[in-house]
């Protein structure tokens, strides 16, 4: 078979293929200069990524009603690449929030000394919640040595499941909270500190150790994809090891898109004083005083 015969066959096949349905060769896209962008910015998140929608404005409105990831478009049955990488970025931020430690400089800057729970690694922290609720023996000595005893209000911070939340909120929240308490006469405030690898329940031991009346822990929440910066405050009146969880009052969702840190600090100052006055927290506080818990 010579070349011309082969060429004829190839031509015939190509002609046949082009007639048959479903064979399309994509046009080469125009080449764009790479633009400066951050796909995790608010503007990019608000963008409608559906190709040729019936009503783009309607989709933009839908996106205002929810922070769920709607109007994200698709590549065949899968994500388009922008959505795929945005999801990876948000997950990476959440992972870093869980696994990265707080810098010493940040704690020094707001005047906190650091102690630790009984967990020696992040891995142990994640799998042994019981150890994350207890201070190490050395930490107990340090706290007893450095802290004022029998305060009306004892405040401390813990990384919990998001060190990012502490970094993002504590430097603004703590001064605002302490300022708010300074102006109240007759209320003594204990020495604040930071606990690495700490869980909420650790506040019960702190309360017993320092004989505090009201104890408040500021702690990083388990990060979602929407934000890794969310912090909570758990508060209890005369917290004791083994007490019911329902005795804790919780203020959650402290972050720049929820309750901003400075505002949260001022609010917490008032709340701590109300709990001190009511001598109750959690379910008891709500029921007895009609106050919001």
């Amino acid at each position: 078979m010579d070349n011309s015969v082969i060429e004829q066959v190839v031509e015939a096949v190509l002609a046949e293929l082009s007639r048959s349905e479903g064979v399309t060769v994509p046009e080469a896209p125009e080449i764009h200069e790479p633009e400066e962008r951050d796909i995790t910015s608010e503007a990019e998140r608000a963008a409608v990524l559906v190709k040729n929608p019936v009503d783009a404005e309607a989709i933009a409105r839908m996106k205002k009603y929810t922070n769920a990831r709607v109007g994200v478009g698709r590549a065949g049955t899968r994500y388009n690449t922008q959505t795929l990488i945005t999801l990876r970025a948000d997950h990476a931020a959440a992972r870093d929030a869980v696994f990265m430690d707080i810098d010493r400089e940040l704690l020094d800057g707001i005047g906190l000394f650091a102690v630790e729970s009984r967990c020696t690694t992040k891995d142990e922290f994640l799998t042994r919640p019981d150890l994350g609720r207890q201070l190490s023996d050395e930490s107990v000595s340090v706290i007893l040595e450095k802290c004022v005893k029998k305060p009306d209000i004892q405040i401390f911070a813990a990384d919990g499941l998001s060190s990012t939340a502490i970094k993002a909120n504590l430097p603004d929240l703590l001064p605002s909270l302490l300022d708010g308490l300074k102006n109240r006469s007759g209320i003594s405030v204990g020495t604040p500190f930071f606990v690495k690898n700490g869980r909420v329940g650790l506040m019960d031991q702190v309360s017993e150790l320092l004989e505090a009346r009201v104890t408040c822990v500021l702690i990083g929440e388990r990060p979602g994809l929407a934000t890794a910066e969310s912090m909570s405050a758990y508060i209890a009146y005369e917290a004791r090891v083994g007490m019911e969880e329902s005795r804790r009052t919780v203020i959650s969702n402290i972050h720049r898109l929820g309750v901003p840190a400075v505002e949260a600090g001022a609010y917490l100052a008032g709340l701590l004083c109300s709990i001190l006055k009511a001598k109750a927290s959690g379910v008891g506080f709500r029921r007895d005083t009609g106050n919001e818990g």
Partner: protein, 457 residues
């Protein structure tokens, strides 16, 4: 009864059936946390060896929680088909495993034997199965169920559309529902986990979901997964509900921690029979997940696979329409990494089916687990191969309310295409009629939620 075994010349002795069951588990961080796990890999295998020679009647006579103390045990034992049980009670767990895997053992045989099994027998055989054993054995069984539509028929993969919202805003929920419908999701259920458990709020969402269902003529069912007592009250006050939901545990104490008992479920069932909006007969929806008993200290010293099997024994008493394990939701202290989550997902699906339940799965993970979206995609493909009735789907995998990741709407169509599966027939016809699919493939309008605005059934 022999509670010992010898491996590599060393003899391992166990003090109870419970200990053999626990130590025979594949590794789970929750069993370690509970202090029940095998202390070495060899001890784990030694427990499997001891378990393989245990007879099914030994397992029946040693329930995880005593009959007198626990309503889940009583439900399981009292409902057993004694004729079936008498035929298999002298089998060892090894005999049972090999019978399940035998090429001549078919769906009808498995579902017949199911009636004579206690949760402890089902858990025991699961502990001797490899991952592929679990996929293969589950793929032999299909358990369909009927509410407004029938799900679970061979060749189908359905999806629950989960349009959760941070404040239960009905317009925001609607946006997520429309988006999901245009990806072919929602044939199992359109079901919301509410933030607010108040009757008025739950009713408002139910009415919106009912409006969407009726407006577009969608062949599906709706549900708001509030606490069972809230849903009961909402239906009493006239809210539309096709199904009533509750999370369940494997012990009476665990269910009490969830705030309900058998009586509550019976009440919900009766109420829907009289005032529900669905055709039935299957009108209940249950969710489970390994580790929930330990987290409420209601595990009675038993491992999490055994307690999970007991959830299914409870569920089957009420002939539900949907049952799914929320497999990776509970966190790394119970299921540490993707390996443990994948294993648990396959175990739960198999155990549920062998209990005669129409099983689904929420393939999911939290951000403090050693798992990511790739792992979740793997698990959903494995379960689809094993013939799971349905999986959960959310917008772009991100549940903004529960703060975890599940399958994306996008995943449902991709899995169906890759494994040659389809939505249930009624829903498939609806997708074609609306123009979301054309000849079974996504149309150019798929993924465009604005396409459905202004359309009618």
């Amino acid at each position: 009864m022999t509670l010992k075994s010898t491996l590599l010349g060393r003899t391992y002795t166990f003090s109870s059936v419970k200990e053999v069951l626990a130590k025979a588990n594949e590794q789970k961080s929750g069993d370690v946390l509970a202090g029940l796990a095998a202390e070495s890999e060899l001890e784990r295998v030694a427990a499997k060896e001891a378990l393989s020679r245990m007879t099914l009647n030994t397992l029946r006579e040693n329930p995880a929680v005593p009959y007198e103390e626990d309503e889940v045990t009583r439900i399981n034992q009292d409902a057993l088909n004694e004729t079936v049980y008498n035929g298999i009670k002298n089998w060892t767990v090894a005999d049972f495993r090999e019978w399940i895997l035998d090429c001549d053992t078919e769906e009808k045989d498995l579902l017949r034997v199911s009636a004579g099994l206690t949760a402890e027998m089902i858990a025991a055989v699961t502990k001797l199965m490899s991952n592929l054993d679990l996929v293969y054995a589950a793929s032999k069984m299909r358990v369909p169920a009927r509410c407004n539509t029938t799900i679970g028929l061979p060749g189908t993969l359905s999806a629950r559309l989960q349009p959760n919202h941070t404040t239960d805003n009905v317009d925001g929920i609607t946006a997520s529902v429309l988006e999901g419908l245009t990806y072919g999701c929602g044939d199992a259920l359109i079901g919301l986990n509410p933030v607010n458990d108040a009757v008025s709020s739950v009713t408002e969402v139910l009415k919106r979901l009912d409006d969407i269902k009726n407006n577009y003529g969608i062949p599906t069912q709706i549900c708001v997964l509030a606490h069972i007592t809230t849903q009961i009250e909402a239906v009493r006050q006239g809210a539309p509900a096709d199904l009533i939901f509750q999370s369940v545990a494997g012990s009476e104490k665990g269910n009490r921690a969830f705030g309900f008992s058998r009586e509550t479920v019976i009440e919900a069932h009766e109420l829907l029979r009289k005032h529900g909006t669905s055709a039935g007969p299957n009108v209940l929806y249950f969710e489970t997940g390994q580790g929930s008993e330990l987290s409420s200290e209601s595990h009675h010293g038993s491992d999490q696979v055994t307690m999970e099997a007991r959830c299914y024994a409870f569920c089957r008493e009420f002939s539900p329409f949907l049952v799914n394990t929320v497999v990776g939701f509970i966190g790394p202290e119970y299921l540490y990494d993707s390996r443990q989550v994948v294993r648990a997902g396959l175990e739960d699906h198999f155990m549920g089916k062998l209990s005669g339940l129409p099983m689904g799965c929420d393939c999911c993970y939290t951000n403090h687990m050693m798992a990511d979206q790739n792992d979740l995609e793997n698990l959903s493909l494995l379960l689809a191969s094993a013939g799971v009735n349905y999986i959960i789907s959310v917008p772009a995998s991100d549940d903004v309310m529960l703060n975890y990741q599940s399958n994306a709407y996008h995943d449902i169509t991709a899995i169906r295409a890759a494994l040659n599966l389809r939505p249930i027939r009624e829903f498939e016809l609806w997708l074609e009629k609306m123009g979301i699919t054309e000849n079974g493939r996504l149309s150019k309008h798929a993924g465009d939620p604005s396409f459905l605005l202004g359309k009618k059934a």
